[in-house]
């Protein structure tokens, strides 16, 4: 029996993998999955977790390297041939076009060890500044805002279970009832107190948790979360509900924020957000009453991708933090601000060097001290480390353009489905001289590659992940990978050797982690006191280790940091910085040709681009195809019946998917999940306009036209 965690989202539900039983064999799963007691999932798993072992036995699992031949098709190749080819082409491209002609694209699903090794590989072996990752699509705005205001970006700066003690929880743009269902157990306390406030343009399953007196659903117009927050801030200031002592002692800039919201009275916000002014007031009062200063048991403000995947995502999260600070929440019991991390290792993946501007330990790559520390661990000259690169969307935009990257290595990401404006992304990838994809399944992106390298899946490898609450947890191997499959640590080791770097890329995850610990030591995300052995021992003893965990001092181990901010904020003056922000609205604007909003999101049964979950029959049966959710009044106006094909067109392109008519939508908004490729791919429609600070694209709002789809008739005789 192997105690590990689910392969999918950042909740990282604990599970046990055992020998395949009859049921497992029936569904072609090599191991049997059961839920395991853990503070986050409390033994629960959603359907994705229960069925996760089936991906291990996927019939089209990649088990041999593939190389595109002269015939334009992918053909099996030996590892040596494939790696020689990749190394040779990389060398050739860098010799001809310079080091910067090679770029790396990582993923938030990679273990800490792989993410760390990938960042090191880019800086030390390839010596390119151009590395970024798909976390730029999900966590960058929350990260930018938290770093600026609070001095640190740890998704939840407190254990998830602390939510249970909160009297009120404000959820902005998160559908966690579908994206991480077992987490909703921790909302029971707030719901019992009538304190769950959900801001979402859809009456999502999460919004439904606020029904029947459990709280409030604010069904805001897409792209207006920031205006909702500004109105809530206005109310707590105007009605004297703020924690003045906390603001005076622990923050700077409160007066600027107070002034900045003077013009956001609820009736004005109602016009912008579509949320009745009195609902905004009520929501603000529910939160304020739960704040410790007003005698409440605690209040938590949480943001998700709905609020963050926006050209004003950083500003929106900043406003959420301002609200939490105004009520004196961060650092108080059962209170605070948090971002709900999305991908499995979305937290750890953003700490150890996959980001364009970052070195391990959440260090800044343009900080000379950080460069010196990391270079010393890596045994290289700090001056040889490249500087900051560019964020993901810009990186992809440059691929195959004059002066841009001519080779791209992709790890743990299905870009042509998950990136915004993905038809343009496909063109960019096709314009490359060399595309190398490491994957365990023939994803849409792998199928575009010149070389595909088959790698291990979660149950076949050791490593660590850092969950949404900043807890470092162990991923453990339950079975051997199929013959022909190698770990990405092996791939990086072998490529490094072929490119002339024969040391520094160990293949043992525990050894990689020890180096990561040293590299991160003294940084913001300090793993200095951790090792696989310590994590195993702590788990066995029922102890959780949340970073920062600095190295042991005088023989005394650091106990980890479950809760941040109790005594101050890791900023130069120890105070949180309140930054005034204003609402400008989404980059796409409605006009007569595109008079409706499109919002994109997820369904319970699928994870990210769907490359894994679409291969699980039970999940595919439950959610077999892309769809467009629309309100009955809109469907009626457009003459569209439930189940009929619908054509959705934005300035980027057109998608076709079946109509799901449901009163949960706003009549001015349609919703599409983005888990599919092909003509129903939602990201054909999304814009690649990005947040000016975080570089995060605006997945969540697009202006679209919607109409019934009339398939082109085949020409007679054709």
């Amino acid at each position: 029996m192997t105690a590990t965690h689910c392969p999918y989202c950042a909740l990282q539900c604990a599970m046990t993998l055992g020998p395949a039983d009859a049921e497992a064999r029936r569904v072609r799963a090599p191991v049997a999955v059961t839920g395991r007691e853990f503070p986050t999932n409390r033994g629960g798993l959603c359907q994705k977790g229960w069925t996760s072992a089936q991906v291990l036995g996927a019939t089209d699992r990649l088990t041999t390297p593939l190389v595109r031949g002269a015939d334009g098709e992918l053909h099996p190749a030996t590892w040596d041939d494939a790696l020689d080819l990749v190394a040779g082409r990389l060398t050739e491209i860098q010799e001809r076009h310079g080091r910067d002609a090679v770029a790396v694209f990582g993923g938030g699903g990679l273990t800490n060890e792989k993410a760390y090794a990938l960042g090191k590989f880019a800086r030390v072996v390839l010596r390119t500044p151009f590395i970024d990752y798909n976390g730029r699509f999900c966590m960058a705005s929350a990260a930018a805002a938290a770093n600026r205001s609070l001095g640190v970006d740890r998704g939840l700066p407190f254990p998830l279970a602390d939510l249970g003690g909160a009297q009120a929880v404000l959820l902005l743009g998160s559908n966690l009832a579908e994206t991480m269902p077992p987490s909703t157990q921790h909302l029971a306390g707030a719901r019992a107190a009538g304190g769950l406030v959900v801001v979402d343009p859809r009456h999502s399953p999460t919004a439904a948790l606020a029904d029947d007196g459990a709280g409030l659903h604010l069904q805001a117009v897409p792209g207006t979360d920031l205006a909702v927050l500004l109105a809530l801030l206005h109310v707590v200031w105007a009605e004297g509900l703020v924690d003045a002592d906390y603001l005076a002692a622990r923050t700077t800039g409160a007066d600027d924020v107070r002034r900045s919201v003077a013009a956001w009275w609820p009736e004005r916000a109602e016009r912008v957000t579509g949320v009745p002014a009195d609902d905004l007031r009520r929501a603000a009062r529910v939160l304020a009453a739960a704040a410790p200063v007003n005698g409440g048991a605690g209040a938590v403000v949480l943001t998700g991708r709905g609020a963050e995947q926006s050209t004003q995502g950083t500003a929106t999260v900043t406003a959420a933090i301002n609200l939490a600070l105004s009520l004196g929440l961060p650092g108080r019991p059962s209170s605070g601000y948090g971002a709900i991390t999305g991908q499995g290792n979305g937290q750890g993946g953003r700490e150890h060097g996959q980001k364009a501007d970052q070195l391990p330990g959440y260090r800044k790559i343009d900080d000379p001290a950080a460069r010196a520390h990391v270079a010393a661990v890596w045994g290289v000259d700090p001056d040889d480390l490249p500087g900051p690169g560019v964020a993901a969307v810009e990186l992809v935009r440059r691929c195959g353009t004059p002066g841009g990257p001519r080779a791209l290595l992709v790890h743990g990401c299905n870009l042509v489905v998950s990136a915004p404006d993905n038809q343009a992304v496909r063109e960019r990838l096709q314009a490359l001289d060399l595309l190398v994809v490491c994957d365990f399944l023939p994803s849409e992106t792998a199928l575009l590659a010149d070389v595909v390298l088959p790698v291990t899946q979660w149950a076949e490898e050791e490593g660590t992940m850092t969950s949404l609450e900043g807890r470092v947890i162990r991923r453990r191997r339950a079975l051997a990978p199929p013959p022909g499959v190698r770990s990405e640590l092996d791939v990086l080791h072998d490529l490094a050797a072929r490119l002339g770097v024969t040391s520094g890329f160990p293949t043992d995850p525990a050894e990689v982690f020890d180096e990561l610990a040293r590299a991160s030591s003294g940084g913001i995300a300090d793993y200095g006191g951790l090792s696989h052995a310590r994590l195993d021992a702590a788990e066995a003893a029922g102890q959780a280790l949340h970073w920062p965990v600095p190295a042991a001092r005088d023989g005394a181990e650091h106990p980890g940091t479950p809760r941040l901010f109790a005594d101050g904020f890791p900023r130069p003056d120890g105070r949180a910085l309140m930054v005034p922000v204003d609402h400008r609205g989404p980059s796409d604007r409605l006009h007569p040709d595109q008079p409706l909003y499109l919002v994109t999101g997820r369904v319970l049964q699928h994870y990210q681009s769907g490359a894994q979950t679409r291969r699980v029959p039970a999940l595919a049966a439950a959610q077999p195809e892309p769809y467009v959710e629309l309100h009955p009044l809109l469907a009626d106006r457009l003459g569209i019946a439930d189940g009929e094909p619908v054509e959705v067109t934005s300035a980027r392109g057109t998608a076709v998917a079946v109509a799901h008519v449901t009163p949960g939508a706003r009549p001015d908004t349609v919703f599409m999940p983005f888990h599919w490729s092909g003509e129903g791919s939602a990201n054909r429609l999304t814009t690649d306009a990005t947040d000016p600070i975080s570089g995060m694209p605006e997945f969540k709002v697009a202006a679209v036209r919607v109409r019934a789809h009339v398939p082109e008739r085949a020409e007679v005789g054709a």
Partner: protein
């Protein structure tokens, strides 16, 4: 090259917003923030504040400190509070101020606002100070004085039953005063509401303890030892409305003296074209002091829109290449609309919404007596005076062009969103009159195991329907744990545990004791009168389940 000089006269909501927008746009251009130098002359000593909320101050609902608007302490902006402009020399392009200073400009922006109109009434000296107990409601001082006066006053009369008058009246009633609104028109808010809607509003006011005297001609303020004692009405029958506090909310008059003296054309306000520019291309007017071709609405939204448009235009003109365009593929989104977007002169800024506790009134576009839009419209209304509700929608070319909504805040919010964004309206506009039915996304919303259809999802986390649980039961599962093991219902978030227990209980209740636990189901019949189930036991005998 010396920076372009922009002088702004007036530091209220619109003047301050203009400065903010201009600074932001100029900073975003290649020329950078130093390309423009802004001087702001503000006659009031106060920092700019949110005038819209003064009635909320009267109502005691907001903290006065929360009205203060952002300061612009940035390079290139000089704010001179308490310095009033008294003349403009357009020949020399200089503004002269009352402190003896003079300010040269390349562009002059008048944002002098409006002042409260003091009606010609006996007891009020024209142009002179108001007697004790008589107050306008235009400035922060006015609001503070009214609040102070409520301490000793028991009765108040509000002269003018427009939006501000009603807000003040409701606010004073909230403070426990007996309030009478004296209004010259046929009913309250007659600029926005027709008679039927006005009637519903009148009933709402009565319910809040506010008495309305419509079609009333105020004749004079009754003074009692120099203090207000009431308001005398022209109609002999009405006589005097006694009140210790008289609030004047009889409209506003644009502050145009400076423009007039400078020889600029003035109608009701300073006459400007669609770009907010006077006949002098270097002089502009925005906000309440201006009179654009479509007319001034007196709403701050219009002034802010003008501020944004003028700032965009001047930023582009005064810097080399102009403001970066907003939106578009890959572009960092600019602030607000792109400069080339046409000015918003089509009327979506004219949403009027009453801010009064317990009385929801919203009117927009085609409403009240404003009916002529020059194209065919369709109007549908819901009249529910006894329910305190009146909703009217006006639709043209598939979009909402006007609406009136009394007594339903939720419908009002939806109408406002549809009106301001011109989103498609339902095929039958009557659908707009009622609150949308909310979606039932959770199994918890299902009524009972009996009425729940088989296809209803019970466990969302694991996609388990009621039918799956019934089938599982029929395959022998008798306890919730058995069902959980087989279907994984309840093993995600646990939120459906109660529902699954309910279904299993109901299945057990409706299965006869004789039926073998391992019976195979062969079909469904009627159970509890709804779903039927026949159970065939191991020996082949068939029993009715009910």
């Amino acid at each position: 090259m010396r920076p372009a000089r922009v002088v702004v006269v007036g530091h209220g909501m619109v003047g301050a917003r203009f400065v903010e927008e201009l600074v932001e746009r100029v900073a975003g251009t290649p020329a950078g923030a130093r390309a423009v130098e802004v001087t702001v002359l503000g006659a009031e000593e106060y920092e700019p504040y949110n005038r819209v909320l003064l009635s909320e101050v009267v109502a005691g609902k907001v903290d006065v400190a929360s009205l203060t608007l952002p300061r612009r302490d940035v390079a290139g902006v000089r704010v001179l509070p308490g310095v009033a402009a008294y003349a403009v020399d357009r020949e020399r392009r200089v503004v002269l101020a009352d402190d003896g200073s003079s300010h040269a400009y390349d562009h002059l922006v008048l944002a002098t606002g409006a002042r409260a109109r003091v009606p010609a009434l006996a007891g009020l000296a024209p142009g002179g100070p108001l007697p004790a107990g008589v107050h306008a409601l235009r400035t922060l001082d006015d609001a503070r004085e009214i609040v102070a006066a409520t301490v000793n006053a028991r009765r108040a009369v509000v002269l003018g039953g427009g939006v501000l008058g009603l807000e003040a009246a409701c606010g004073l009633a909230r403070r426990g005063l007996r309030v009478t609104v004296v209004h010259g028109g046929p009913h309250a808010m007659d600029r926005q509401l027709d008679a039927d809607a006005g009637h519903v509003v009148g009933r709402g006011l009565t319910a809040l303890g506010v008495d309305v005297r419509a079609d009333a001609a105020a004749e004079g303020v009754v003074l009692d030892g120099g203090r207000a004692g009431g308001l005398r009405l022209g109609d002999a029958d009405d006589g005097v409305v006694p009140a210790e506090l008289v609030v004047l909310t009889a409209g506003t008059e644009p502050e145009t003296a400076l423009a007039r003296a400078a020889g600029l054309a003035v109608g009701r306000g300073v006459l400007v074209d669609r770009t907010c520019t006077t006949a002098d291309p270097r002089v502009h007017a925005i906000g309440d002091c201006a009179e654009p071709p479509e007319g001034g609405t007196g709403l701050v939204a219009q002034g802010w829109d003008q501020a944004r448009r003028l700032a965009t235009r001047l930023a582009a003109e005064l810097t080399e290449r102009g403001a970066a365009p907003g939106g578009g593929t890959g572009a960092i989104p600019g602030a607000g609309r792109a400069p080339d977007e046409p000015p918003d002169a089509t009327g979506t800024d004219d949403v009027v919404r009453l801010k009064a506790h317990g009385l929801d009134v919203v009117a927009m576009g085609v409403c009240g007596s404003r009916r002529d839009v020059g194209r065919p419209v369709r109007s549908v209304r819901l009249s529910d005076p006894d329910g305190g509700r009146h909703v009217e929608v006006v639709v043209a070319d598939g979009v909402l062009v006007g609406a009136t909504c009394v007594g339903d805040a939720r419908v009002a919010a939806d109408l406002t969103a549809a009106y301001t964004r011109r989103t498609p309206v339902p095929a039958d506009p009557a659908q707009l009159l009622l609150r949308r039915v909310a979606g039932a996304a959770s199994a918890a919303a299902e009524p009972s195991p009996t009425l729940m259809p088989d296809r209803a999802t019970v466990c969302r986390c694991n996609g388990v329907t009621k039918g799956d649980i019934v089938a599982c039961f029929e395959h022998g599962a008798r306890e919730v744990e058995d069902v959980a093991r087989a279907t994984r219902a309840t093993t995600g978030c646990g939120g459906c545990t109660e529902a699954v227990c309910g279904i299993v209980d109901w299945l057990r209740r409706s299965t006869p004791a004789g039926a073998d636990a391992s019976a195979d189901a062969v079909g469904t019949g009627s159970r509890d009168g709804e779903i039927a189930l026949d159970v065939q036991n191991r020996t082949g005998g068939v029993q009715s389940a009910v």
